[in-house]
């Protein structure tokens, strides 16, 4: 079975994010970029399926700027077999919206015919949490989102999902779209030998136009702002004073 894993290049989760002075977005100049952590989990899960003999090829896809090939190389160094880069933007500040991404992925699926897609549940930059679901709609495949456990059982996947009330286990027919949640696994580090091997693994370069997908944004960002700074607290001397202050603030 071939497994397709879409991976996104995002601002590194350790970076202290700065909003651009004009409020048009987040400043990405000279900022460390990495693979979206949920996508790392997805790549790891695909590798584990391959190691368990349930998958035989892992293809990773990234859609965005040319520099996303570094993200793909990271996935190759972790253990993916082959990569496809779909260049869809020149400027690192351009975010390709989930629907456009899903349409391109649909076209990649048509060409690659994978038996399973494992994506991250969301990207940590815009937190859309939509691509996997949209892709399921476009392909008409089953979806199993927020996976914390994945098993392959013949032509089905058995997926434990993290839902509000607890855990839910569902069985979906393959091919299917799975999106990875935080607790699915702990991604491995790329080993030195695998980093060296990654150089020689194939990386195909395409453009959004090759797939006939229009990536023009449909959404307009009105404003980006820093979260409000937490106000300094005050100390109160007694419960009576606390109650009085809360009333004053209209909280009681």
């Amino acid at each position: 079975m071939k497994v397709l894993v879409p991976v996104k290049r995002v601002i590194d989760y350790n970076v202290k994010v700065r909003v651009k002075a004009d409020g048009s977005g987040v400043d990405l100049a000279n900022v460390k970029m990495s693979m979206n952590p949920f996508d790392e989990i997805a790549v790891e899960e695909a590798i584990r399926l391959k190691e368990a003999g349930k998958a035989d090829e892992i293809v990773v896809v990234s859609i965005g700027v040319k520099q996303a090939q570094e993200t793909l190389r990271t996935a190759l160094a972790m253990g993916a077999d082959r990569a496809i880069l779909v260049v869809a933007a020149d400027d690192v500040h351009t975010d390709i919206e989930p629907l456009a991404v899903a349409k391109i992925l649909k076209a990649v699926i048509d060409a690659e015919a994978p038996g399973l897609v494992i994506a991250g549940k969301q990207a940590i930059d815009n937190d859309m949490n939509a691509t996997g679901q949209m892709l399921a709609a476009l392909t008409g495949w089953s979806q199993a989102t927020f996976a914390s456990e994945v098993g392959i059982d013949g032509d089905h996947a058995v997926v434990t999902r993290e839902v509000d009330g607890g855990l839910q286990t569902i069985k979906v027919k393959l091919p299917a779209i799975i999106t990875a949640d935080l607790r699915l696994n702990e991604p491995r580090y790329a080993s030195l030998p695998n980093i060296m091997k990654a150089k020689k693994k194939p990386l195909d370069e395409k453009t959004a136009a090759d797939y006939g997908v229009d990536v023009t944004p449909r959404l307009t960002v009105v404003k980006t702002s820093e979260p409000p700074v937490r106000q300094a607290g005050i100390k109160v001397g007694s419960v009576d004073e606390l109650v009085a202050k809360l009333k004053e603030a209209g909280a009681l």
């Binding site: 580090y189 790329a190 060296m196």
Partner: protein, 391 residues
């Protein structure tokens, strides 16, 4: 002419940094408190790191190592500086390049097992009467038939209690001065070889520093490393890269980590109604640390690239040994200052970093010795260390 970090280098550094952060840093405080890394923890660390190919990365692939170029090696050594001496030894190995001089049966007995981490090696040059003056040693190896008889003592031998074998310098021809010194590979447990006390040190807790006693230890020619009488020449030719890696690069890594922590503290700590970072005198300390780290790393990369190109960089290595060690000394001193009372307290690791940093200016050649080397080279007419146009 730019140093562009390749994605392989970045990935390798990410792996090493991630490994240190997840697997090694959490062990540091326990080692500091107990003074030792338990053997089973050491084995577990080694197992994980060697599975990732992170042990012996400096050794060529043909001998089972990672085959990194000198520049790549310096990049990872810098990251090693983010953790402690003993954890570096167990996770990544101090596999000295001097072992690459092994020939014939020596390869399987000493080199290969050292690269695989099956046997660990220490360098034993220093004696109570001979530190900076490595040619002043008293330990001697005397020819007796087809054997050598080794007698004498060494001290401060790092990792001595864990190591399986030692590279030992000994006088083989007292009439020839520094040209009468040879190197021997000596296994722990050989008759006549005994371990002395573990010298307690100011810092780098967890690493042992042993006295070694050789009482008529019988060695065959198989134990002679390199050519008879060329021990110090061989040491000089290969220890340069060790210095660059284990002192300069690691010191730069330590400085980088310490400055990151200091920046966070300067941002978060408020006094007089403002953050410490708002005081200009604190700003000066932060900026000076950044300037010095930046300069040292640029010099390191330049030197490493030249070493890869096969150029003679001995004077530059001396310069970097001093620059790395002294940058670290200043950066960590400023860190203690900016942390204030917390920098002096044992609740935070800053005071440990301060103690651990001090030895960098002493071992692998004291700053003064390296400065002498630099000055003498320049006075003799070779000025490329500061004037590339003169070479």
């Amino acid at each position: 002419m730019t140093f562009e970090i390749s994605y392989e280098q970045r990935m390798l550094v990410d792996t090493v940094r991630g490994f240190i952060k997840d697997e090694l840093t959490p062990l540091e405080e326990m080692i500091e408190q107990t003074g030792a890394l338990p053997d089973d923890t050491a084995r577990a660390v080694f197992k994980k790191s060697s599975a990732l190919g992170l042990y012996g990365m400096n050794i060529p692939e043909e001998f089972g190592g990672g085959g990194l170029s000198c520049l790549d090696q310096m990049m990872v050594e810098e990251q090693f500086g983010h953790t402690t001496d003993i954890l570096i030894r167990r996770a990544f190995g101090n596999v000295y390049e001097v072992l690459l001089s092994c020939t014939g049966a020596q390869v399987d007995r000493w080199l290969t097992p050292a690269v695989k981490g099956e046997r660990v090696c220490s360098i034993a040059f220093t004696e109570p009467g001979a530190g900076s003056d490595a040619a002043g040693i008293k330990t001697k190896a005397v020819r007796k038939g087809d054997k050598w008889v080794l007698s004498g003592m060494k001290h401060y031998i790092s990792d001595g209690s864990f190591s399986d074998f030692f590279v030992v310098t000994a006088v083989t021809d007292p009439s020839k001065g520094h040209r009468g010194i040879s190197m021997f590979l000596v296994d722990k447990g050989m008759p006549g070889f005994s371990l002395g006390r573990d010298q307690a040190m100011m810092g780098i807790r967890g690493t042992s520093h042993l006295d070694l006693h050789f009482d008529e230890v019988e060695l065959t020619d198989d134990h002679l490393l390199g050519t008879e009488g060329e021990g110090l020449k061989l040491a000089l030719s290969v220890l340069g890269r060790v210095r660059l890696a284990q002192v300069a690069a690691r010191a730069i890594g330590k400085s980088t980590k310490i400055l990151q922590m200091t920046l966070d503290h300067a941002r978060d700590r408020h006094q007089f109604g403002q953050s410490l970072g708002d005081f200009q005198m604190v700003q000066q300390m932060l900026a000076d640390s950044a300037i010095e780290i930046n300069a040292a790393r640029a010099a390191l990369w330049d030197c490493a690239a030249q070493l890869d190109a096969g150029q003679d960089v001995r004077t530059k290595i001396s310069a970097l040994k001093v620059q790395g060690a002294e940058t670290l000394g200043r950066v960590v001193d400023r860190a203690v200052q900016i942390y204030g009372g917390m920098g002096f307290s044992k609740d935070l690791p800053i005071e440990r970093y301060y103690r651990d940093a001090r030895i960098y200016r002493i071992f692998d050649g004291a700053s003064e010795v390296h400065r002498s080397v630099i000055a003498k080279t320049m006075l003799k007419g070779s000025t490329s260390v500061f004037d590339p146009w003169s070479a």
